[in-house]
Subunit: 476 residues, 2 copies
């Protein structure tokens, strides 16, 4: 294929970070601006987010939650009400100090997360056990003053949803925390084809102000882990700080038990790094803005465009179908839609029409199939399902290949070196060991998985008795 | 009805502003927080916005626009590129001066609107006439540092969509400006049942940096006008300031011609003040989160709940149906759903079931109808249509009653006093007269309507020759 058709991207084996940057820009997902650390989400990138949002919003509503919208500014004094929370977030917030030409009497924070606003509101509207549970969610932008940023993965401003709920008992809050982690895992595995590991964060890595944090972790193509969604059991710490109480059935005042949980535009970064290859993006069919792109071949020949537009009309009833009948060369088009990761390409030219067939090309395997025009719909439906499940399968295999056990620090370092992936190792539970592992290897504790195994009796780091298995990895 | 059932609200004739505040809080649309001038949009309020958003987003996409997302922060230097624009907005922006513990080298503005960010991006991505038109939209939050605020009508932070487009010619941009004003008018009249007046803003009232601004204006129940949506023809001013050029078919470099247009959560305020009454909200059926609320009567009696839930199941296929089978008294429920403006209430008790009938009560007129259970679906469909068109009709009548002509300042003031509505009067086009009218009467020019009439030869203010008819009113 002639060079001029091809948008060049760096090979991922050569420089994974550069590969990523090339893909997000050349697939037209994002653009940079003069706003440091922020990104412009372009139409193709935004339609991905829109699809993810719709899928997740439906699940959030099906589990009984309602959407609300909270102010974006938080007065400094409000943020300070929960001690651990402000300590965790103060170093990374943006401060508004002036409105118009006036200096503000009290500085405002641009929300890094909205626990304190929800708490203030809950205090107003919760009085009785009849008011519980309160299951709220909001779709919003948030800001964290990050030093080093990368599109989708870590940006100054990002889009997310944040759920905030209040419950009568600790058990109810625990159940909610688990339920929403499962919703995230379902979204990741069954829509985005990203296999996830479910577990609990260590004390060191938990959310500022939480009793504990559940997380889903996924493994990128380069062997680094990415925290893909988190669900926090907040206990009654915020409730006590904000005085959120209800009178129970016996008329006694009780503090509520809370949760919060969030999933961000970062998940798009995960999708890119789990599925993409050296020709660009690969989008799982269930989330793809365009599932099938029709490229007419020799479109100036009589009948070709009519044939293709009829197909578009017909297939458009079952799938999200695009057609490119521009005067660009087919080679350019093939590359462009491969770069954009569109799951299937349909080609049809004079010869195909004569044979009453179409050509289907899979983005994931490159496989080319000739199918009868009449049977195209069924073939496409089957292929899209195959691609969807194939992507998940492939990602699972890669994760398995890139997961190793380690019994001691020597093995730990060697495994990390050989494999660049997840290390499974026992841990004594002490912060010192966690810190030392990070210092010596660069890997952090990703999670204490719900599915525990007992691979050794002693801590990988200190050799003392250890009962918990932890997944470790270098991480984004 | 016993007093304790009723959430008291102030009568609108007594104190319209207090009536409004009562309605937005007691219908659970909003709550206040410790963030000055901002509001919490509660689930019921947010579902209204969600419905409006869906209706408008569909229209925006049908007219060929794509959604994107721009950063929320704007570097000061970027905002200053277009002189009129910064002059207009500088007094009302929020300034971010610190990130974490560091003072920023350059201050950031929290976007009051995003023209400059779109311009910077357009400069990057537009090169040839083939790249035009570019038709982008974004759904976002924006901030304007307002001194006096009221829920939905004027808040420090609000939600909106902002369209930003680039075109090859001035005519194309003009056509877009008109088209999107028509989209807004369609949304207001055919979905929200708010009659609108279409016209052009005077030079004084136009958007900072625009060539001209088109507007839709509506009249509230108290006779004040509300600007409900605006569409700006930006000409090539921004394009010149930002250097957005394309090479035309002849290879000559040309500046693009731009538009921008926005509609905000304010439109919810308009809906409240156009349709509401002394029992609370009245929501037009097409936008109502719940169109029909089923209230079982004597629900402890055998068969009542079964009958009602079967109805809900059946009617739920055609309408957005709610049911309240809580142990609250029917009187409380009647009031609650009237306050919330749900278009229709369905009551069914043992006697109705015996007669195989249901009772339908219209929120707008209070009319009570007994219909056979089998025919309920058809009756409801008809009633919802009647309510929808009736609301628009009623609002049109009110606007007509509250619109008067004035030939001189005496008449102007008298009409404003008698009527508290729109004054139609000729204007010479001079800023002095516009300023004097505002000073003497408190009314501002709302628009120069597209549908012109010639009601006098001279300016209502100075008596000089006048050719333009202007609508004036006190406004929100």
């Amino acid at each position: 294929m002639a060079k001029e058709f091809v948008k060049e991207i760096t090979a991922m084996e050569e420089d994974f970070a550069q590969w990523y940057t090339d893909v997000v820009t050349k697939a037209d997902l994002i653009d940079y601006s003069s706003v440091r650390g922020s990104m412009i989400i372009r139409p193709y990138g935004y339609s991905l987010w829109d699809n993810i949002k719709n899928e997740l919003d439906r699940r959030i509503k099906e589990t009984g939650h309602e959407n609300v919208y909270m102010p974006m500014f938080i007065p400094e004094s409000l943020l300070q009400k929960e001690k651990d929370h402000i300590e965790g977030f103060a170093p990374e917030v943006a401060w508004v100090t002036h409105g118009g030409s006036e200096e503000l009497a009290e500085r405002l924070v641009v929300r890094p997360t909205s626990e304190v606003l929800f708490c203030e509101h809950y205090k107003n509207i919760i009085h009785s056990y009849r008011d519980l549970p309160k299951l709220y969610n909001q779709w919003a932008n948030v800001v964290r003053w990050e030093k080093t940023t990368r599109p989708f993965l870590r940006t100054l401003e990002f889009l997310w949803q944040e759920g905030h709920t209040c419950h009568a008992t600790d058990e109810d809050a625990h159940e909610e925390t688990t339920k929403m982690l499962d919703v995230y895992a379902d979204l990741c595995e069954n829509v985005l084809a990203i296999p996830v590991l479910k577990g609990r964060k260590t004390e060191k890595e938990k959310f500022a102000g939480a009793k504990f944090t559940y997380t889903i972790e996924s493994l990128m193509h380069d062997g680094k882990a990415l925290q893909t969604g988190t669900s926090h059991h907040l206990g009654d710490g915020f409730a006590k700080a904000f005085g959120i109480q209800y009178s129970d059935r016996e008329g006694e005042l009780q503090h509520v038990h809370q949760t919060s949980w969030g999933l961000t535009t970062r998940v798009i970064g995960a999708m890119i790094m789990v599925h993409g290859d050296n020709r660009g993006l690969i989008i799982p069919p269930r989330i793809a803005p365009t599932q099938l792109m029709i490229v007419p071949v020799a479109q100036h020949k009589e009948g070709v465009l009519d044939f293709c537009y009829e197909l578009k009309e017909k297939l458009g009833k079952s799938f999200r179908v695009g057609i490119d009948s521009s005067d660009k060369k087919p080679g350019w088009k093939f590359n462009e839609y491969e770069m954009k990761g569109i799951p299937l390409r349909l080609e049809a030219g004079p010869k195909d029409i004569e044979n009453n067939q179409v050509v289907l090309v899979r983005r994931d395997t490159g496989e080319k199939l000739f199918v009868q025009a009449e049977g195209a719909e069924q073939a496409i439906a089957g292929l899209l399902e195959d691609i969807q499940s194939g992507l998940l399968e492939k990602a699972r295999d890669l994760r398995e290949q890139k997961t190793e056990n380690a019994a001691g620090m020597g093995e730990f370092k060697q495994a990390l070196k050989d494999n660049q992936g997840f290390i499974k190792a026992m841990w004594c539970g002490r912060r010192e060991c966690e810190d030392r592992i990070k210092e010596e290897t660069g890997a952090t504790s990703r999670c204490i998985p719900f599915e525990q195994e007992h691979i050794s009796d002693v801590c990988v780091c200190c050799g003392n008795k250890a009962e918990e298995l932890v997944y470790w990895a270098k991480a984004y």
